[in-house]
Structure formats: C-alpha cells, structure tokens
Symmetry: C2
Subunit: 730 residues, 2 copies
C-alpha cells in the first residue's frame, strides 16, 4: 500500500466516526428509501425491470407457500448445502418484496425463517464436512456463511421496522450476533485478508453493522480488525485490484468477488455517503467491473485464467448486479451499456430499475462494447498484466489473450506467457481452467479435484513453454508468489496490426523468455491471422515444450507421423506430464503444419521447424483413475536448444457446413514460416504461401523507444524499422 492511500484511509476513519449518529431511514442496505419509492412508482411499468420483479415474486411466492426448511447441516454440495443457499436467496427476495408491495406475508416469512435460524444456530458446532478446524458452521466453509450474512443483512434491514422488538432480540441474539462473534473470534484473520474470502467477510460484517446499527462493526469491515486501515474493505479495494481494475485472482474470481464489493459499496453509499465510495481510488469499482466484462470470450464466458469454471459468464447474477450498478452510478460511461443489453436482464434493486430505464431509452443498436486492451496487474500496476486483442467484423469476433500476470494467490496457475484464442463464439485454443465440477456432490463434494493441483495448475496444461519438463517457478507457490512477468509493449494503434509482447525472467534459472503475439488483418485473408514469436534465451541447452491445446478434429498434418495407436504411454511422470497420453510423434523439415476443423471453420498452426523440432500429439486423461479430466487434445512442439525462437502462425481459414455438405479452404494461405534472423536484440520472421503470399514480421527483444531505428539484413534483403515492431506485406 502506498503512503498516499494510508493517508486517505486515515482521513476516512475520521469522517466515518464523525457521521456515526446520522443513520438514514430504512431500507438502507439493499436499496435506499428514495430508490424504493421509484420502484414502487415505476417498477411494474419498466420492461426489463418488470421481469426481475416477476422473477423475485415467483421465488418468494414459492417460498411463502411451502413450509420453511432450516435443516441441520450435513453435506458440502448436497441437499442441506443447497437448501441454505436457497434460503438466503428467498430471504433477500421476500424482504425486498415486502418493502415494494407492503404484503405482510413476505415479512412474516422473513421473520419466521430468521427465528428458525435463531433456533438452530446456537447448537451448531464445526460443520461435519469441514476440511479442518477453521471450517464453517452452517456451511462447510466459512465463505458460504459470509454470503449468507450478506443476504441476511439485506433482508433483515427490509423488515427491521416491521418487527416487534422481541423478534429483533430473538433474531439478533439467536443467529446474527452469534454468527458475527463466530466470524470475529474464529475467522478474525479473514477480515484483514486480501482475498475474495476477505471481501465477503468485510461485506457481511459491514452490511450487518449497518443493519443492526453497530458502527464499530461496520468500521471493522471498512478498516480491518484494528480499525486503522491495515485490513478490511478499503485496503481490499486498494490491493485486490490493479489501477486498471484487474482483479488479482483472475476474471472468474473477479466475478465472484465483485458481488460483495458492489453490495457493500451500495450499503456504504446509503449509510456513509460522505465516503464517496464510488469515487474511491479514481473510480476503482467502475474500472473493476469494466475489466471483468472485458476479460470474457466473445461468447461471454470468462477467460479461464487460473482456477475457473468455463461455463461461468456475463450472465451470472453477480455480473448483472455489477453492470447495472455501474450503469446507474456512472451514467456518463456508456461502454457498459452494450453489455447490459446483452445480459438482457436487470437486477432487482434500485440500480436495476435505473439500468432498465436507460436501456429502454437507448438506441436499438449499441456499438459492440468489447475493446482490445491491456490490463496491468498488481496494486500499483507494475506486476505484468493480461493483454487482449480483438478483431470484430462481419466475419465474426476473434479474440487473442495473453497472460503475463503475477501468481494470483492460491487459485493461481503456474503459467506465464500463455495464450487463449476464441472465435465463432467458441474456444479454438483453450486454457483448461480448473479440474472441478462445482457443487456436484459426487465429484469430491463439488470442491476442487486433486487434478487441479496435479494437472490444471501445472505449466504444461497451458499454451506456453515448459523447460526440461518442469513447471514455471518449479510449481512452488512460495517462489511464484514473489514473481511476475513483465509487459514489453502493447500496441493497438493500427487496428489491422495489433501486437502485444511480454517477458518473463526467473521462471527457470538461466532462462529468459519473451512472447510476442500479433493479431493481423490482411485484405487477402478472409479472417485474422495470429503471428506468434516465442523467444527463449539461455546459455545452456534445454528441452523446450510449447503446447497448443487446440479444440476440434485433426484434418491434416504435413509431418511424418509415428502413431502410438496400439499401446499408449504417458508423456512423463510429474509436473502434469503424467496426465498426458502420447498419441503420436511427428517430424518434418521446413515448416510444420497441423490443420483441424472446429464447427464451421478450419484452423492451422504453421511453425518454423528449420531447427529440429518434434511434434507430439497428446491427449489429456492419463493418470486419472476417477475420470476427473476432460480428454482433449494437444499439439506440443518440442525442441532441444539453448537460445531459440518458436515462430508460428495460427490461421483461421475456409468453411465447412454439414447441412449443405459444403467445404472449401481446407488449406490456409500461410504454408511456410521461416526465421530470417533471431538474436538477443530482435527476431525477423517470414510467412509465405501460395499466390506469392508473404508477410514479414520483426520485433525487438530489448526495450526500445517508439522512435528507435533498427535494421537487419537477412537473405540479401535489408529490413529496417522504427519502434518495437513492424509488419511488411507482399
């Protein structure tokens, strides 16, 4: 934390204490009283909001018309787990509906359910499925219990004034206060933790503090257990996001963490508007939401950087909340509106109503909200980042992302300079994500599977270079946590030649790496092409493996292939290699080509193989006795060298359609890749194909200003350029 931020927090502490006595009228946690008046007046007549209202009514009506169930906790992803999750959703919906409609059935339901929790909670000890003594009571992990409290605070606030004092006493003393004490006594370190669990904890305590009129509690939530800014929500806002809004754990967890950030921020705005929380750290909340929506595939699913479930998308409830609150709070920022329209749902609260009205008034066509952008990592933006290049046109949306971040905490994976490629609204070259079936009880209770550690986190599970069969940083968390990759340059000035380049030192002793990836549009090509230059510097020879986790069916390779198709063995014994079957091995002189089909399009990796290169055809799924892994393919380019350059093109081409049985363009325009020169200072690579198609791409390896001049002669030709890179077309 910088000194400036400490001072800001100290100032906020003073302001906060000063404001203690001025609690606004209820409701003041999930919605404010003025917002409620708007919802009552206009909610039913505003198109998208009416649907949210009706949906909440369906949930609440189903709830009030069936017996309340508050079961003794038994499982970690089964019935009682899901029941308690359903309960907090019903509490929230019924609470707000009582405020909106005045229908006392909803209030009675909230009271009754709270009273049942008050009856149950004091008798609970450690959850039977807890992983260790730090487990939860109502849920197997305390995390879920904080989520319960966030919703409980929202619901309790909505019925507070309606409740008899005796009910309040019973509820607060039976469950709310005991749970707060459980958190503060047994989970105390979580409040000060810079992690999504910490933010859920801050939000739970802070919102409950506002709900039960306990400003000490909300101050602990804001400033940490010492109430001095060394922990709590504001420090989490400082440290968990980079200045660009990148969330340290990656976009899947950003999605999860954004809900308590947004919920608590709203409650802070209602109860302590003087904190100007939505302006805090140059609108870091807006930047966080913007970064999170941008870190999605063209189909809206989150980029599976680090531990991630690949189905999770912009349509998640958390993202609908986050986008709507930002649309409402930052009305001059129009970038998010396209995403709000794409979600086609709004959240059931004051922000949802505002967003619905803005959408109703917006033009029918809003220009695509996705941008090429770089998001720096680290609290001060100096710990590498993620680069995202997009080409959006009539032929579709191609997205190329490269990861060169810091480790990203306990859910981080050991991969730097890895990439993902999507188009046709699907993954083309994938990142595996995590090995987990979330909430699926027969799969290890829905928790992370052991293969997350043994496979998904290992470097070989990603599209980046593995040296000597070992993961980056040796796969050691303590080492990796102290390191990060470095951005080299990121350029999107020319929309037809977008380039990003990043470096990583210290992944391995004595080996440094730089990857440069360009997304190029060329008038001769129907689709964008990716140029990939992976430069490795080392004084000693090593084995380098560069995987491409392509998705689709192999159509063609020009390599001479030996298939291991009667007896199959594994690629290795550790660092994830034990989970890869060796299907075949190919060699080629000149350029290696692999073409595959995915849905309606062909794809080719074409890679320079002037230096002896072996192509390994692999498949995920070895060493997997519980069938936990997806059995998907990989191409691994293997080379033994000291310093070297892996130079490849990834081209999308042609068309296949099964209903019309039409196929064309099975061969790409690039058939050969040649390294013209590659030194410590720069690399120049040539891409050629039929009809005299030729591209030459040059990139610097040393820091260069945009005006620095470079020149190199190769094959009798001189290539001269200014700045970090140049593309020649012929």
């Amino acid at each position: 934390m910088t000194r400036t931020l400490s001072i800001t927090i100290a100032a906020l502490v003073l302001v906060s204490h000063f404001a203690i006595a001025q609690s606004p009228p209820r409701p003041r946690i999930l919605v404010s009283a003025p917002e409620l008046a708007e919802i009552r007046a206009h909610g039913s007549s505003t198109p998208l909001f009416r649907e949210a209202l009706e949906e909440a009514k369906r949930v609440a009506e189903a709830a009030v018309s069936t017996p309340i169930e508050v079961p003794r906790p038994v499982d970690a992803g089964g019935y009682t787990h899901e029941r308690h999750k359903q309960n907090y959703r019903e509490l929230q919906a019924a609470g707000l509906l009582f405020q909106v409609t005045g229908d006392e059935r909803y209030a009675r339901f909230v009271r009754e359910m709270f009273l049942q929790y008050a009856g149950l909670y004091p008798s609970l000890k450690l959850h039977p499925k807890a992983l260790n003594a730090k487990g939860g009571r109502l849920f197997w992990q305390p995390l879920n219990e904080t989520v319960w409290m966030v919703h409980a605070a929202q619901a309790y606030d909505c019925v507070y004034d309606w409740l008899q004092p005796s009910d309040r006493k019973a509820i607060e003393e039976g469950v709310l206060r005991p749970m707060v004490r459980f958190f503060l006594n047994e989970q105390r370190s979580t409040v000060d933790r810079m992690h999504n669990h910490g933010t859920w904890m801050s939000a739970a305590l802070g919102m409950m503090g506002y709900a039960v009129n306990d400003r000490v509690l909300s101050d602990i939530a804001l400033y940490g257990t010492k109430r001095d800014g060394t922990g709590g929500f504001l420090r989490q806002l400082n440290e968990l996001f980079s200045p660009d809004g990148y969330y340290a754990e990656g976009p899947y967890y950003a999605r999860y963490a954004i809900m308590p950030f947004i919920f608590f921020a709203q409650a802070i705005e209602y109860n302590q508007p003087e904190l100007k929380i939505f302006e805090y750290r140059k609108q870091i909340l807006r930047k966080a939401v913007w970064a999170t929506v941008q870190l999605t595939n063209p189909n809206g699913t989150f980029l599976p950087i680090n531990d991630a479930m690949k189905e999770m998308s912009l349509h998640a409830r958390e993202m609908i909340l986050a986008v709507d609150v930002c649309v409402a709070r930052y009305p001059s920022d129009h970038g998010l509106l396209w995403f709000a329209r794409r979600q086609n749902r709004v959240t059931f609260d004051g922000a949802g109503l505002i967003a619905a009205r803005i959408l109703a008034d917006a033009p029918k066509e809003i220009s695509n909200g996705y941008r090429s952008m770089e998001l720096r990592d680290g609290p001060d933006g100096t710990e590498g980042g993620v680069g995202v290049l997009r080409s959006i046109g009539t032929q579709g949306h191609t997205m190329l992302a490269m990861k060169y971040t810091a480790q990203g905490d306990g859910h981080g994976h050991y991969d730097r300079l890895s990439f993902l490629l999507s188009n046709q609204e699907r993954e083309i070259i994938q990142d595996y994500g995590a090995a987990r079936f979330v909430n699926v009880e027969p799969k290890f209770g829905g928790r992370y599977l052991p293969e997350t550690d043994t496979w998904a986190k290992q470097t070989i599970a990603h599209n980046t270079v593995v040296v000597d069969g070992r993961s980056h940083y040796g796969g050691v968390f303590e080492v990796a946590s102290k390191k990060h990759a470095e951005r080299h340059f990121f350029s999107t000035n020319d929309p037809n030649v977008q380039v990003m380049s990043a470096k990583a030192e210290g992944l391995y002793d004595g080996v440094s790496m730089q990857r440069t990836m360009a997304l190029v549009n060329d008038p001769r090509l129907a689709h964008p092409v990716v140029l990939d230059l992976f430069r490795i510097e080392s004084g000693k020879p090593h084995q380098y493996d560069l995987p491409f986790y392509y998705l689709g069916h192999v159509m063609h390779t020009n390599a001479t292939v030996q298939a291991f198709d009667t007896v199959r063995t594994r690629l290795g014994a550790s660092h994830g290699f034990q989970h890869l079957w060796k299907e075949a091995e190919g060699t080629v002189a000149g350029s290696f080509i692999l073409t595959w089909l995915n849905d309606h399009r062909y794809y080719s990796v074409v890679s320079a193989a002037d230096e002896p290169t072996t192509a390994l055809f692999a498949r995920i799924g070895a060493g997997d006795p519980q069938f936990n892994l997806r059995n998907e393919p990989a191409l691994i380019l293997r080379r033994n060298a000291a310093s070297t350059l892996f130079a490849s093109a990834i081209e999308e081409h042609g068309y296949f359609e099964g209903v019309t049985e039409v196929s064309y363009g099975t061969r790409g325009s690039i058939q050969e890749v040649r390294v013209l020169v590659s030194t410590r200072d720069f690399s120049v690579v040539e891409y050629t194909g039929p009809n005299r198609f030729r591209l030459v791409f040059a990139v610097t390896h040393q820091p260069a200003s945009e005006t620095a001049k470079h020149s190199v002669t190769a094959g009798g030709k001189t290539y001269a350029w200014v700045g970090n890179f140049k593309l020649w077309r012929e």
Copy 2:
C-alpha cells in the same frame, strides 16, 4: 416385387405410350406454367417465399456478374468439384428466375454456361480421381453427374423456348446427349439399380427426356432399360421404400434420395399427369417424406442409422423441397406443417409458394409434429423396422429409437437391436454414424474413410450385444443382406408406458436375441426413464458385450474400478475392437451404476449384475494413425453366460447449471435393478430406489396375443398380466 405391383407397372406403361404426343407448354420440369403464373403474381408478396426468391436472386446475380467458369475436372472434393456443383445450382436459379422475371440476362447466362459445357464435355474421358473404370467424367463419381443433369434439365427447360434452334443443337449435341449416352452406355446398370444412385439416374434421364422431348428416354427412366418395369423409377418407388415409407438405406440416405424422387415426381405430374404419381402405391411419396422427417432427433438431425453424417438435418435443401411439395400436394395432411414451420424456409418453386401461403395462414401455434411410431422395413413391410418412442412435455423431448431392420444395402451397418437416446436437443447415447468428413478434401478426398468399414460398420460400434467379439452375421455383407431382424410388438396405446420389442435370429449360430425397450413416464420422476431388457438364448456359453455409447463426463460409478491409466491397450484385434482403448474395468455386486453429466442434466445406466458382470470403460480412437475417429467414450457390460438377460434402466435426473453453479439430483431414483425371473417365455425385472420407489416390468419372449394371460411367482409374489407386457408401479 409382388405380382400386384408388376401388373400396376405394366398398366402404366400402356398409359404412358398412349400419352406421348401431348406435351404441355413449358416450363414443365421444375415448375408448371400455371405455377409460374402464381409465382409471378404473388411471389414477392408472400413472406417466406419472398426470401427464397431473394436468395435465388442473390445466387443468380452473383453468377451473372462474374465470368463463367467451366473448369476441366481435377479433384474429388476440391475446387473444380465444388465449381461444377455451384454451376448446376446457378443454372437452376438463373433458369427459373428468367421465367419468373423475364430478365434476359439470366437466359443468356444459362445459354452461355451450357455452351461452355458443350465445348468441354466431348473432350472428357474418365475423371482423374475416379476410383475405377466406372467413374464419372465431369465428376469423380457418376452420381454427381446425374445430379448435374437433374438441374440441367430444369434449367434447359426454362430457356428452351427462348433459345435459337442452333443453340439448342449445340447444347444438346455437345453435352446433354453425350452425357445421356455416357449414362446409357457406360452406366446402364445403374438405371435398373434399386439404390439412390439408381434414382438419381432415373430422375436425370427422365427429366432430360421431358426437357428434350424424348419419351423413349423418359420411359427408360420410368420403367427401366427394358422399359418393362424391371427397373427404373417406379420399381424404385416399390422397392426402396417400405409400405410405411421407410427408405432401405436409412434416413440419411433417404434425405439424399428424396430429392430425385420429388423432382422427378413433379416433372412426371406436369408431363404425364395421367400416371397420378403422387397417388402411386397409396401415396408412397407422402409416406416416404413423413417417415424421413420422423426419423430425426429432437434437434432435427437425422438418426445416424447406417452410414450417416450426423450434422445433416431437416434443414437440408432436399428436406425443404420434400416437405413443401408434400404440404402442397397433400393439403389435407396437416402433420407436416409443423416441420415446414420449423424449417422456416421454403423452396423456390411452385410448391414453395403454396407452402408459404399455407404457413402464413396457419395458426401461430401448430402442435408438435413428432410422433411415436414404428416404421416397418422391406418392400412389403416384413423385414423388421425401426421403432421410435417419444415423450414430449414441458421438461423437453426425449426420443428413444431402436433399429431392427434389414441390412440396408452397401451403406448398412452390422447392428441389429441397437438403440439411440436423445434429449435436451442432443445425443445422450449415440450411434457413431460413419467415419467420414464429407467433401473435406484432406480427409481422403471427402470420401468414406477406411474406418467406416473397420469401425463404424462393425457391431461393437453400436449399442447392441456383440457375441464372442465378432460382428453380427460375421460382418459379412452377403450373409447380412439376406437377413433381417423381426418386430415382436410395438405399443404406444398408453403414452406413459410406450414399449417396443424386437427379435433377431441368426446373428450368430445358435444364439437368438430379443430386446424390449420401454419409455416410461412416472409421476414421481421429473423425466422419462428407459427400461431395457436384452434377452439372449443360447445352448452354449458365450462372451456377451453390451455397449452404451454415452456422451458426457463420468460423475460416479458404484463399481470397484481398476484404471489402466499409465499404459493403455486395445480391447481386441478385429471386428472393431481394435479401435477401442481399454480405459478401466469395474466389478460390482448387485447393481452396476454409471452416472454422467451432459449439459444441464445427469444420466445413469443402472444394470442388474447379479450374474457376474464386468463393466469395461472404453474410448474410441485406438488403431487410428490418421486421426480419423472421434475419441468418445463407451461403457461396455461384459458377461460370460449361455442364456441371460441384460436388464437396465437409463434414467435422466437432476440439473446442473454452470452460470448459477446450481446442481441437484446427481443420484437417480433407480438405484437397483433385479431380474426376478427370466426364461424362454418371459422376463420380470424389478427397479427400486430410495423412498420405496419401485417399478416391476414384465415382458413375453414368445409371440402372445393381446388377450393372452401370463402369471409367474418370484420372491413370494405372483405377477399376473395380460398381453405382451405389463408395468407395476409402487
């Protein structure tokens, strides 16, 4: 062919000759003059038809505005192949558009292209990519050449009156007549062949006969080369379809063959209406189209029985033509209208206009057109068939199909009593289809891959019992062609207990088989459940393998599993087993359970294992050096026994949703399956699960009347029923 049908054909021959001189005005091949008048008057103002018209204009405008290309044939799935296909589509579109619009640019285009073909064709010898001396000239196989002629006849007819006699002479003598002579001299046997190639040939010759005023030619097409009914179109109508309209090769080829049947039938109706072709054989054309649309999955893709490409669907051009013509020709048959609406496209001809007008006038909601039905196979309906059971409700559409047909000619697979299961608009237990990437040049020129024979056609590639590791009928075409399975019974009287049962003798010496499959709705279950009773009779012990080609990810098995996850070998050496990896082997006492996840739902196979049963976990893809196969999983239940019963339930249950991270119902309601009794005469099976869930199902193995009474005592209880089957619920 039966005697009755021969007489019908002889009578038609007489009528035909009598009618020779009365050719109607042009156009008279693709549309009639009265239909053309309707199109001119109402085409642009009829919603769906306008789109078809605009689409034809786009094709034709692109064609007339670029230079005509009639390249010398080179490839079998590459540029020249696709160019000649595109040419005949352009000829057809331009020809009809000339008639509709009167715009002479279209006519000139058709003339010019025909003249270029007239210049090229005489010089063509055997196609360079022909597989043998019987190959085509313009295309690698004569089949494509007949398709060219079908479209050429339609286009030529449209410009015939506009052409100068000298043009006609040049075109007819340069390409049309030489191609006819090539067909009649070098491909003569095809005209008389009972096969889709034969029908394309008949249609080509017959339509060209009408187009060039050659009734001898159209008679050859109708009645065969001897013009006596021993070959040609009418005999194809008699023999290629069963009385229920089932097409001998299966639904994928029915889709392909239906186009020449429909095109030629329309031309016959215009030129020889006295043949009443649409009434022929009790409206066999209507039945054929009905059967073909019914043999599709809930998502509209064709059931991949025999050689089939699995992407092919109701949206194929051929099916749009066929459905529209039947909607137009059989206006009192409303069953097809739902399919026409689902296609949401109409064909660009007179029938398309009629269909579009009927659709525009139809109610907004048309009831679902899919039916449970049995389609008998064989010209007289005595050669087994296909049974399709459907349960369509608010929870979706579950389809269970069983194949008990004859061999189905050269594209037939060696499987009897196999099944397929679909819901959620996707395959749940699949049939592999064929190993082919149609028209994809790098995959063996787009032709059938060798693995179609070595894998896809073999019995083990299907969900049916394999005995002693050998395919049905030994996998010998000559043996299989003479045999067929037999229907036992098919009952859909009770929509909640739909049952089909079929038998197969002679698949193996001394082994007879019967499979009974029920699709049951139960008020206690959210989804239908499949009961599967596979009874095998044999005097000697054998090894029985029953595969389930489930699609999805394994969630759970109750078996003790030994995984072969460090070294993997194949399941066998021949009859398709050489293409299966042995992933694991499991044993269990009592009932075996395998649960998997597919998209939003869990599925379980639960199978009685009181008799020692091994569960083999397998994966397709061994013995596949060219990466031609899809690497998909299978469960194979293996048992060594003489007579035995494989009794299973296949249950859909629960819910998974990745965006909300909600999961429930991972365990099914059926957890145990017990064979209470199984003899030569009948089997009684019990299905039980938590909360005292119990079903008992009884089926007869000997032919029984619907009023025959049966009784058996098992476990101290007496089960008595009337007819072929009974279900008890508790």
